[in-house]
């Protein structure tokens, strides 16, 4: 009986040792992970984890819905990617503009945002925003030479803006982009979207089938409710605009999209930063397309799907007064 007990005890101790060892290893593994240690309030943690579990369940549910939908669609080819080139520059409303822009873009499948900062280097504000946005993106930057930049107090129409940045976006598409292999590598549409305009989701559906250059009306531009190409017999015959209609392409930047094929085929087409006011779009389009080849969209150019909104510069009188006293708002807080 005694030996039996001793043997039993030894196995028990061995077991005890193994279990402690496993527990230690497990604890060490936990230490290596990130831990949400901000709140030690257990009931709050439970509701949070319950809500998170609920959200996770909803996401799984949505993924399942998407998965059941996809067998109905042709799984062979993905839709052509829309490359949206947006020039941006640092000012108070920049983060707000880019935030609401990204919220619109998140609704568009196969969209690649090419954000080009007017800056000698990448700013952490934009880098952080892009990383958190959930979009596929490319973050570029190029500084506008001083003589072409608007000074504080210049009216916005004095010098064309964003030309260098858009050209940098085009350069990336032509030179740096790592295109996927196969016949689809030239499929795509390029759209120049300014960061203060307003875009409807349908606009991106309209432009996806662009073969060369497609066009549509733009609201609130050219001093009018909208500007648009005039379509007869499915072709653009002239442009309905109240300002300098004799331009080769009296369109706004937001009023056209170019196929990636056309961008890659016409390597020299780019925006001329020295072009007179209103001719920026023409300086690019002239190298790519003729008026007869334009493809009208948005129901033969009768619907407005994009608006040339502009955001007011926020009044900072009190901020400036405070900063003069050295009491300005905390600069560590990103606005």
């Amino acid at each position: 009986m005694a030996t039996g007990m001793r043997l039993k005890l030894k196995t028990v101790f061995v077991l005890y040792f193994m279990v402690s060892l496993m527990g230690l290893v497990y604890a060490l593994m936990q230490l290596g992970q990130r831990c949400d240690c901000t709140e030690h309030d257990l009931p709050k943690d439970r509701t949070i984890s319950r809500l998170r579990g609920e959200l996770h369940r909803l996401e799984e549910q949505m993924k399942k819905v998407e998965a059941t939908k996809s067998p109905h669609q042709a799984p062979k080819s993905t839709p052509p990617t829309i490359f949206v080139i947006t020039p941006t520059y640092s000012r108070f409303v920049q983060k707000a503009e880019l935030t609401r822009l990204s919220q619109t873009f998140l609704h568009v499948p196969q969209l690649h945002w090419v954000l080009v900062e007017d800056s000698p280097h990448k700013t952490p504000l934009v880098a952080g925003l892009l990383a958190d946005s959930g979009l596929a993106y490319t973050h570029l930057h190029t500084a506008t030479p001083k003589e072409r930049k608007l000074q504080d107090g210049d009216p916005s129409w004095l010098k064309p803006r964003g030309a260098e940045q858009r050209n940098e976006g085009l350069r990336w598409l032509r030179e740096d982009r790592r295109a996927p292999q196969g016949a689809d590598s030239q499929q795509g549409v390029v759209y120049f979207a300014d960061d203060d305009n307003t875009y409807s989701i349908q606009l991106f559906q309209e432009m996806r089938g662009t073969q060369r250059v497609s066009v549509w009306p733009v609201g609130l531009v050219g001093g009018m409710r909208y500007e648009r190409p005039v379509v007869e017999g499915g072709k653009v015959v002239r442009f309905h605009t109240g300002w300098r209609p004799s331009r080769p392409f009296p369109l706004d930047m937001a009023g056209f999209a170019v196929s990636l094929k056309a961008v890659l085929a016409n390597q020299d087409a780019c925006f001329d930063g020295n072009a007179p006011m209103g001719f920026l779009e023409s300086s690019f389009l002239q190298g790519v397309v003729t008026m007869e080849e334009l493809e009208p969209r948005a129901d033969n150019c009768s619907k407005v799907l994009v608006w040339h909104t502009r955001t007011e510069k926020p009044k900072m009188k009190r901020e400036e007064a405070l900063q003069a006293q050295g009491l300005g708002s905390d600069n560590a807080v990103e606005v």
Binding site: V12, Y16, G53, T104, H139, R178, T198, P217, R225
Partner: protein, 335 residues
Amino acid sequence: MPKRRDILAIVLIVLPWTLLITVWHQSAIAPLLAIRKDDGGEGKKESGGQAQDSKEYCASDKDIIEVVRTEYVYTRPPPWSDVLPTIHIITPTYSRPVQKAELTRLANTFLHVANLHWILVEDSQRRTPLVTRLLRDTGLNYTHLNVETPRNYKLRGDTRDPRIPRGTMQRNLALRWLRETFNANSSQPGIVYFADDDNTYSLELFEEMRTTRKVSVWPVAFVGGLRYESPKVNAAGKVYGWKTVFDPHRPFAIDMAGFAINLRLVLFKPQAYFKLRGVKGGYQESSLLRELVTLNDLEPKAANCTKILVWHTRTEKPVLVNEGKKGFTDPNVEI
């Protein structure tokens, strides 16, 4: 006898370990869930039903400029959850050229938020077809109301009236609708937020306000002539004042976009409305909040009021000079 002693020994050794493991699991389950969510990005920010299956390709080791994500585009709006509190968003709106653009981009933002109910109140005699169609086409869960601010409340020739701040009657109508529709005794959790149609909202804001118990507050950018205005929060996490330059001694020196109210509180105090007449500039929000809550009850959000999640952007009034007296563009084309 020996067998019982053996069993006792085993139990005494195994019991503390099982206790340890259960306690460990209890405290570890919350961070585990957090880790699972964090796989797709910053889980805390993107909790509005939008996880991603993300793969990141780096163009070069030093400088990541291109990020490609394989992303699911989920059904929008997200499916309704029985657990999350509903966010009732009250937006007053009025007809002007940028109205459709503003509501479009606002809808693009709201489409990302789970359990959102949009109460859009027009300042008009009848519900306009523009807004009716827009609301229907978004697919959002909405309620469309209207009430016209009487002409004698508006200054002659100018719709901007200093006597009654714009949107007051519309917000009050929405509050009344909520009180008539929801029973104070039913346990449907909800949050009420006043969102103007020209501001910019981050998606994180809606998740912050979902946990409001009475009234929660946070900073707002571009108000009061400052980069941002914010509540002052002490070390105990309580609001004790307001970091503003313009009249910081107001009972609630906060912008309309800077607070949210729990629906239960709105229903519990059915006499609380925005004061219509005789309200000094900047005291509108106080006229409602002082009937609902005291300073001590306010819940600071956005990391104890240190992050900016909402911007008081304003859209420029478009210059429509080229329309001329008779109108150059076709008035049947909706903008």
